[in-house]
């Protein structure tokens, strides 16, 4: 039971981190038809900048805020100067975002050096609780709560606010939204900013969780996020959290029982989804 609970918590925490990355990807894809291959780069930038600020100021919360801000800024720059000039051309978009990924991760190495950077959680999140013989690590619970909080906030934003309404309408039919007199370009930028901010938040939360950060981690997590986006359905926000939890859990259980197959199982899951339901397991929109 102890083991099971620990693995489940671990999987949930990883799932939440993947969700933070995948949610932005899926929203951006749904609205703008852009698959942002540079998303992993934003994730890594969030981690580096957040932990750097955390190290300088000594406050983890300021670090998180700094990471989100970095994500917002990078998101705006990316949307404005990289994505917009090639809007409407799929192949060019895919190519250019991958180029950006390359530049982003190399920039990390230029600024912070090519070596791994260690990270520890702040004192109040260190250690663990003991509940009836079960040891629960605090930081994991923190990640899960943070992920759920973000999910609720974004869900609220999408379902209850004006801008959310526009975004949802844009996912369905953006020409129509434009025809109704809404400046969809601004909405694109807003969504890109939010997506990048979420990715950066995921990055900074991952730092103390895994202990070390390195420039290649963006790509590693981006691969998982792509799997999640396919399983959850492209452009499906609620699908992405379920798929992220699924991938996180399967990853953590497989990593314990059959460690060599943990990535393979997720890949297999993706292949099966691609064959049977290319529009994703959750929801009908393709």
């Amino acid at each position: 039971m102890d083991l099971f609970l620990n693995l489940a918590l671990n999987g949930l925490a990883t799932g939440m981190l993947i969700f933070l990355l995948a949610a932005g990807l899926t929203l951006i894809f749904g609205l703008m038809d852009v698959l942002n291959f540079a998303h992993g780069g934003l994730f890594a930038w969030g981690a580096y900048s957040g932990l750097w600020i955390y190290g300088k100021t000594g406050s983890f919360l300021i670090g998180i805020a700094g990471a989100i801000l970095t994500g917002f800024l990078l998101g705006i720059i990316t949307e404005k100067w990289i994505i917009k000039p090639v809007y409407g051309n799929h192949v060019q978009q895919i190519l250019i975002t991958l180029g950006l990924m390359l530049v982003l991760s190399e920039m990390l190495k230029v600024i912070w050096g090519p070596n791994q950077i260690t990270a520890t959680p702040p004192d109040y999140l260190k250690g663990s609780w003991e509940l009836g013989g079960v040891i629960i690590i605090k930081y994991r619970v923190f990640i899960i709560l943070a992920g759920l909080l973000i999910y609720t906030c974004v869900q609220f934003l999408l379902k209850k606010t004006k801008i959310g309404l526009v975004v949802r309408a844009g996912v369905m039919n953006k020409e129509m939204v434009q025809a109704l007199g809404i400046n969809i370009q601004k909405v694109f930028m807003f969504v890109f900013m939010i997506g990048a901010g979420m990715a950066a938040l995921g990055g900074v939360l991952l730092g103390p969780y895994s202990g070390v950060i390195h420039a290649g981690m963006g790509m590693e997590f981006a691969i998982l996020a792509f799997i999640v986006v396919v399983i959850g359905g492209m452009g499906n926000f609620s699908g992405s959290i379920l798929a992220a939890i699924l991938v996180g859990l399967s990853g953590s259980f497989m990593a314990y029982y059959v460690p060599d197959l943990s990535l393979a199982v997720n890949m297999l899951l993706m292949a099966v989804v691609l064959i049977i339901r290319p529009q994703g397991l959750f929801g009908a929109k393709g």
Partner: protein, 332 residues
């Protein structure tokens, strides 16, 4: 020899090839020889990538996986068994079979969907191959890789250089014919307008899968050549960097031209060699890839046709202007 005289570009290719063929006999330089061999190998790889990206309009982010399959098959065969010609041929066969199978499966799964899916699936599948190569230590020796001996026919550097030159010429001619064949024409039609091609009665999926298989097999051959030139193989052959190399070479050189892929391969490999040499002067040159990343983004944005394509457009425009002037003269 009618097939030799197709156009200016092909003639130029044969002149350069003849020059490169004579080079080792007049100019003895081991380093240059190794660098050129490397360029030939990556040219084959980049051309195979160009077939997908430039001629069919499919974006793959996991081309390294075919490269790696080739490199590991030859490595494992040469390490496990005697390095003889027979075993080399067996490794070649294994590579052909494996790359064809993998590219067929990947194509079957994703090519009927939007272009994003192929890019994503290949990206994650090559990640899977990378992990597999790291974990399956009994076969691959993990991250450290292993050295192996090559058949004696391939030991001499100059011989190997000539063999690679022959192979690149053969691959170039083959791809030239392939892209100009009816099948190749359909592929280009798919790139231009997929729905229209479909409605003209072509089964688009079959053609795309065919392109993906040819490209995968050629990339596997490039992998074999690469591993044999180093006589060493490790997990880096599956890494993202290899795919990125192909991307940079094809995009900067010019997509859909084949020459572009070769020029790009030459440029990048030369620059790599030169800039890593400069790393002693200033540390920023160690991160030389960043320059290429920026150039790459600029090329995608402003010169989506790359070097060769842009040059072609310029000469085409000039010809057109001349033609117009001639007409005006005749009329006036």
């Amino acid at each position: 020899m009618k097939w030799l005289r197709t156009n200016k570009g092909t003639t130029l290719f044969w002149i350069v090839a003849a020059f490169l063929f004579l080079l080792p006999f007049v100019y003895e330089s081991r380093n240059l020889m190794i660098l050129l061999t490397q360029i030939f190998i990556f040219s084959v790889f980049a051309m195979s990538y160009d077939l997908l990206l430039g001629f069919t309009g499919i974006v793959s982010f996991g081309h390294a996986m075919f490269f790696g399959i080739g490199a590991y098959s030859i490595g494992i065969f040469m390490k496990r068994f005697e390095p003889t010609m027979l075993n080399f041929l067996l490794a070649l066969l294994a590579t052909l079979a494996l790359t064809a199978l993998v590219s067929f499966l990947v194509g079957l799964l994703t090519l009927r969907l939007k272009s994003h899916f192929y890019a994503m699936l290949t990206l994650s599948l090559s990640g899977l191959f990378l992990v597999a190569a790291e974990k399956w230590r009994s076969l691959t020796h993990g991250n450290d890789g292993f050295t192996f001996r090559v058949p004696e026919q391939f030991i001499d550097r100059t011989d190997y250089y000539l063999i690679c030159l022959l192979i690149i010429a053969a691959v170039f001619m083959m791809l030239k014919r392939f892209t100009n064949s009816p099948l190749g024409r359909v592929l280009q039609a798919i790139r231009e307008n997929e729905q229209r091609t479909e409605s003209l009665g072509f089964h688009v999926l079959h053609y795309k899968i065919a392109a993906s298989i040819v490209s995968g097999v050629l990339a596997g051959i490039a992998g074999i050549l690469y591993a044999m030139s180093l006589r060493f193989v490790n997990t880096s052959v599956f890494s993202m960097d290899i795919t990125l190399d192909a991307l940079l070479m094809t995009i900067i050189g010019g997509v859909g031209t084949l020459y572009g892929a070769m020029i790009g391969a030459g440029l990048i490999e030369f620059a790599h060699d030169w800039l890593t040499g400069l790393a002693k002067e200033h540390w920023i040159f160690e991160r030389w890839i960043i320059f290429f990343g920026i150039i790459y983004i600029l090329v995608v944005m402003f010169f989506p046709k790359g070097i060769v394509g842009t040059l072609r457009t310029i000469t085409w425009k000039r010809k057109k202007q001349q033609a117009v002037k001639k007409k005006e003269k005749l009329a006036g």
